[in-house]
């Protein structure tokens, strides 16, 4: 039971870190990716 709780805490912690990193990445790459996709779809 204890290890299950540990798994939940670690998992949520890592998910939080991942979401934070994703936020950083979105600020740089997301705009470029979507701008580029738009140029393909509707140049």
């Amino acid at each position: 039971m204890r290890s299950n709780w540990m798994a939940v805490i670690v998992g949520l912690g890592i998910l939080a870190i991942n979401l934070y990193l994703l936020k950083i990445y979105i600020s740089t790459q997301a705009k470029l990716t979507f701008e580029f996709i738009l140029t393909i779809v509707n140049p």
């Binding site: 798994a7 890592i14 998910l15 979401l19 990193l21 994703l22 790459q29």
Partner: protein, 884 residues
Amino acid sequence: MLLRLIQMGIGNLFVLGVTIHLFRLLRTTVLHLDIPIFGFLWIFSATLFTFLLGIFGFLAPVPMALVSLVGLLLMGLHAARQRERYVTILDTFRTTFKRPRFTAVGILLAAAAILQLLRIAFHVWYTPPYVHDTLTYHLPNVAEWVQKGRIHAISTPVLRSYWPATFEVFESWFVVFLHNDLLIQLGCVSCYLLAVTSVYAICRGLNFGKHLSAGVALLYAYTPSVAIHATSCKNDMAVAGMYLFAMALLVHLLRVGDSSNFPLSRRFLLIAMAFCYGFGTKAYAVFIAPGLILLGIVALAKHRLFKKAILSLHPKNISSTSRSILYTGLILGSGVLTFYWYVRNYIIFDNPFYPADFKPFGYLIFGSGAPPDPGTSAQSSFSFHSMWQNARNLVTFKILDQFRIYTDLNRITGWGWFNFACGVSAVIYGLLFDRRVRFIILCFVISLLSLLGWVFVDDWHGRFLHFFPPVFAIAFGALLMCLRIKRVQAPLVVLAIVCSFFNYLAVLNVGVFSKDDLGRLMELPPLERSLVNANIDYPWVTGSAYREVLIHVPENEIIGYSLKKNDVIYPLYGSNLSRRLHYLPVSPVSLVDSMNLHGIRYLYFPRAAERFIGEWIYPYGAHQIGVRNGQMATWINLGSRNHEYNAGKVQPGEWTHLAFTYSGDQAISYLNAETVVTLDYHGEIAFNRTPHFVIGERSNVTMGEPFGGMIDEVALFHRVLTQTEIREIMNRGISVKVDPGNQSEIRLDGLVAYYRFNGDTKDLSGNSHDGKLFGRAELTLDNGAPVPGAKGCVRFPGILGNGVDCGESPEFRIASNLTLMAWVNPDSVDGTHFVAGTPYNGGEWWKHSRIAEVIREDKFTQITRHLYALKLDGSHRRTGDSGD
């Protein structure tokens, strides 16, 4: 076309047969290892077959199909005799793939794999090669080999063409039968699949479940930098594939130890073959090897296999004689594929690593020692500074991918959404808490750091890192296994899927083609798809410009071309690689001679300003002396006319004094102070820019053959010296302040530059035009001109890229009243060798693409001289027309 397809079918059947035969002898019976082993053996067999036929001049559909046919017959006879062994292999495959269980996860994974494969198939079929590096130096090799039917060192100014090219041999396999580059990307795709299946094998070796392993392999396969390179025609994917393949074999050894089904000798053989393939593809395979070496040592130590490993290498311990012969053959084959390039370069250039130097820890072993040139060369040595700076740039800047993901991976890693947003934290977790993957992560990191220490601190090495992203996916897989509860795993998996989907979008069309581009490509017939035919223009490749060239030049004409070391030439071969190209070095004299010699009527100058075409015939600012075919050569360019003449006799291995004067009305050449020619020329030497004085070799362009031998006592006067003065200088040298013991009556007025090379390259005229040695030109104190006070000279090795650069200066702008002299002791007097002078200088030529059609009979009889330049906007313009 049907015949070519049949020939291709026969060739592929043969290579498949060889692969199955090798696989029968080298497989492991562990399915997850057998998949990449089969793939690797197929790549290896196709490459070796192409190489062996290519090296003997049989790189053509008919001989290859014939050899394949004979091979197939022999294999058929062999297989009939040992039918049961082949049946066993088929049974293994049949039982493995029989009745696949359709689970939701399995279907999802299969769908993801198919989605990526569809994207790749689209690009293979519809898009032509487009990456700058491939168009400059990978594919011209392939085009020349396939066109000429043999593998050879091509003549080109793009020095990177001389890098090892095992992967280009493999690419030739996809080109040779169709004589077309339609399927050329399949070379990269094969290596991509090898890399992805190897990641699957690594995960299985780490006891991951099948679905988890497949998921991890797909996460890697969706990494933008990797996915984009799968159809790039670049060779980096091959190195990554070989690295990961070797790692899969070593991880299995680490986990399982030695096994009777897969003895150490077989494992080492496959690893050695993979390493050789990588090293023959790109030398940085060595830089990333340390992680694998560490993994191998630890695996052997863990299972106490060192002694057994050493014994296993002894031929006696290989189960049978036929197997020993096979192993020897494979090692020899791998060795040939690898070392051919290095030995060839050693023979031609005296440096196996040409055009890079080899100077580990600062000690120059091979190469010129010239300042390294990022982009065309390598750092050539390991440096902790590079390692630190590159690692810092990686984690603080490049990993963020702040620029659009494109194949060159300049300033970015291209590792994408998943590796950054999920992989980074998983790697940190794995390093801290998960023993299962900690050591594997460490091995990857060691390889990475080693690589970063060997490459320049620059923006361009992202494409060397394809071997590394599996570390993120593997760590993520291990993390999921640690977090056993499904509800905890689920959000992480969803995040990974979302990130991978964005990765997919980012490389949907490899980051370059617009919708219109793709539309035009798709409308073209498959065998005619090229950047040229689709009129696709990028900053680095202007398809429309090449199109103009191919339309203008008739198909049976040779296209002469002159370009810089990094210009794109591949599109001129045409998509069926039928156009004949011939490289002509830029030089006002040898260029014209070469054209006449090779019957070339069309010249292509990428990025050459229209003015350059004029300069080529009328190069401004050139007054030069040299040696040409046993005579003293003089070049002088007066406004719109280029004059050159040879006179006297120069012997190799003897000191000879050359001098040349031009008064504005008369040019005189002296050999050992005797007049050898006097010509009435009128006019001023025109300069279009600040002149550049050089000795031994023109630093910006090549002219004829590089000077080999010794040069001493070079002097330039802004005054016409009399014959008596020239004789005095020849016999007694020039009196200057630093040499007070050598008094003479020579008037020093007008002395612009004077080099004695007595242990330095100082200008003794007092004008501070000090020279700088470049390349392998070196000062020597053992020898010198036969003049009092001449204690040394400068020696040139007779290969390209060596000289003394005396810099640019308005004082070298001597339009008339000029004297130029030097002592020379050439190793050879055959061909054309530049000694000293101010050749016309470039820097401003390379701006626009131009093609010139030359309709001239003879330059020196000067009967007709018409020079046409075709502007690539379609209009013709006559730039020179002289009837004199």
